[in-house]
Amino acid sequence: MIVESISPSLAILCPAIASILIVLCGKWPNIREGWTMLASILQFLIIFSMVPIIVAGNIIKCTFFTAFPGVDFGFSIDAFGLIFAITSSFLWILVSSYSIGYMRSLREHAQTRYYFCFAWAIFGAVGVALSGNLLTMFIFYEILTVSTYPLVAHDETPEALFAGRKYLAYLLTSGVFFLAAVVLTYHLTGTTDFVNGGIPNLYAEASRAVLVVLFVIFLLGFMKAAWMPFHSWLPTAMAAPTPVSALLHAVAVVKAGVFGIVRVVCYIFGVDLMHELGLGLVLISIAIFTLIVANLFALAQDNLKKRLAYSTINQLSLVIFGVALLTYDGIEGAMMHIPFHAFMKITLFMCAGAIMVASGKRNISEMAGIGRIMPVTMIAFTIGALGMCALPPTAGYLSHHFLVHGCEEAGGTISYFPYILLIVAILDVMYFFPIIYIAFFKKHEGGSKIKEAPLFMLVPIAITAIVSVIFYFYPDMFYVSELVETAMSSLGLEGGVHP
């Protein structure tokens, strides 16, 4: 059933209005950051209020105008979009609080610009999540790209400027491909709406070659997913302040990329057509290549944030991997991994930032004994790291569980792919556990001037770490598993081993 409602537009308006208020109150830091907090909480509540309607199997629509015949500019919220929206809006609350602690402790410049752009980035990310067709999604996707540039180049050092330029070059180029793909899709089918199970007349309207090319253009359009070899913007973008890396480069921006890929595979092409064209194999090879190579790169990094960046690239490909399986459990695992990974990775990044604020240390080799001085931070870090390695009791284990089932379901050669996941997990262990070892078991050198990070930062870290664990015992927190089930049942795939 379709429900008309204005709540999606209200949700989108929160950050937009907040951004204006932020600029107006630029001279009073407390009021300025108060607006950010208020908007984030309000946005989360509005988005969360849509959950019962969606879980009941409805779709919320909110159309503003018709841009082209067959293409409305507007929102259409289904279960899958809502998962991403809930994740990014909830984490915005935590990161706002974290930002306050981080930016004030480091006495960063241009804080008004920072909060302003941050609000617009959230505007873009939530817009991507809620949009009901490719054109709307494209518009928000581009807003997301442009609004994050000032955040990446925030430091204004030559290094940061270079990072910003590289970021923009990669992502706007990919935007061009995305636009090309949108236009081509519209030209072929006369619609760009996301349809459960794919646009029905796509196969009838075009030859195989055209469809394969279209898919490749789509993939190039989602360079935000940082699949290799188009990943190098992400480690470079770590020049940004840590809250930016945490929310945007672990959650909003990169997830918008994989979110787009899932959308295209399941809602534009459809699983059947993907099977028909053999595109699953293309996607799965890209994913496996990225999974392994990104982890090898990660092993070589000494800068903690860079290592986390490569880990992000690796984990994003896990989502792509799940979708590429084209089976019930595979896609389910991919959809679950989006919020799960978000919570775990943001914990890790926020810990890295907390260490930097408290001790000024960026490299892993300098972090000897830091776990004893900053126990809360490092315990949270340990939980996040366990999640990355897919070890219980964290959410990471759950999504891997589904992915393994998905491989079995696919049958044939693919049923051996869990071994690849195992190798990847071992590599994860190889670069995460040394950090934990160094932090807890090596002796701290030098004076003991270092203290735990400020409370504004510790609270969000603790919350995300705890949530990552709760997800393991109770996956329905934030209705995640229920929403995923709803999304899967409307996709109409067969099979599925229900654990």
Partner: protein
Amino acid sequence: MFSIEHLPVLVVVISMLSALTILVAGWRNKKSCCFISFATILVQFVMSIFILHHVTTVGTINYKLGGWAPPWGIEYVVDALNAYVLVILLFLALVCVTYSKRSIEHELPRQIVSFYVLFQLLITGLCGITLTGDIFNMYVFIEITSLSAYALIASRGKIALKASFTYLILGSIGACFFLLGIGFLYAITGTLNMHDLSLILPSYYESRAVQAAFVFFTVGLSIKMALFPLHTWLPDAHSFAPSEISAMLSGIIIEVSTYAFIRVCFSVYTVDFITHYVPIFDFLCWLSALGIIIGSILAIAQYNLKRMLAYSSVSQMGYIMLAVALSTSTHSPLWGGLNPALMHILNHALMKGCLFLVAGAFIYKAELWNISDLRGLAKKMPYTCFGFTLAAISMIGVPPTVGFVSKVYIIFASLDAASAGHPAYIVFVAVLLFSTLLNLVYFWRVIETMYMKGEDSHSSPAKDELPLSMLIPVLTLASLCVIVGIFWLIEMPLPIFDQINALFRLGVYAP
């Protein structure tokens, strides 16, 4: 007595009279010039809105000058196309004249009177070109426009004289071609009235002279509108002119030449002639595509801001001409016919107008000509830089700005043409997308210099913003870049575009 039918001629006449008034009044009081000019253009603008309203609701206005019946007398014919261009033209002129007050007092303190006289003559010429229905009369107004433009470009003296001279030579060659075309047509048909010509010409379409005349028109106007590779006069002229004139030149003067071209193609000749006898549009498509790419590449190579913008205009003219050239092979109600071209004429006027005014603002404040001079300017002039950023983002084509909408429409038009018998046109999709990236390269360089490269980044220098009379025009144009962009997305297909396509039998109305 008063009726809307008299307005077209009044728009031209009061403009010309105002030029004389400024000359006389300025003799006594220099300060009055700007106000007279502003008041005149405001009145003209209001009139043009009335004309637009009348044309869209009632129909074409035919005004016979001096009561002489055409084809002997001169006739002003105002249909949807003229009215649309006229409104854009006068709007941009209004913005520029508001901006010019402080800027001219600063830049050309000794030439205030002559500046406004010439400016008003320029407007007269432009209005004349858009309103007239007589092809020789059009030539006369093209000359009035060009002559006042030559003088305005030269008004800075020194190097601007050379720029103006180049423009003078090439502009005159262009005008000669145009006149030659008129001569040929007159020799064959014995009439100069466009409507009359369009009735007589079809029986002579086989004639070489008629075909040659068309080619003359095309070449002449291509020089005037700086279509690649005839653009060589433009970068110098646009970069050395006073900034409000650069904004006018880039924003509307070259577009008015495009208007003249559309007029000649579809009002004097017909779609039938263009598709069957002199199939020049195919050639123009490729030429404009080349212009889009090369204009952008040359823009990347510039270090002078205004020169970079000028090369960007060459590329943008490519967009407009590509859209015009595709108009005969597209049949959709949305992006068929002249829609994308007309859309981009307005869009380009807004974007480039804003960008040139901002470039002028930097010169006004501190003689900053080069891109590298703009370091950290965003802290000193936040609003101006914000305006520049909006317009630049629009040029790159980030949604939902005007640049994005034009780009999408032209892409759709090329796809439409590609599937309707010109498969090679699919290349234009790639060209347009690629040009987005090139635009990104040269505009982002400026934005980065303004925002990210502080001189010493952690101290905040005192604000040094423009006076309001300059800031308001800049911000008006910048905000319109976004507002109009959303407007296009919501309101297309616009009834007025529909009317224009119906008039010329293009798009959905193609036989």
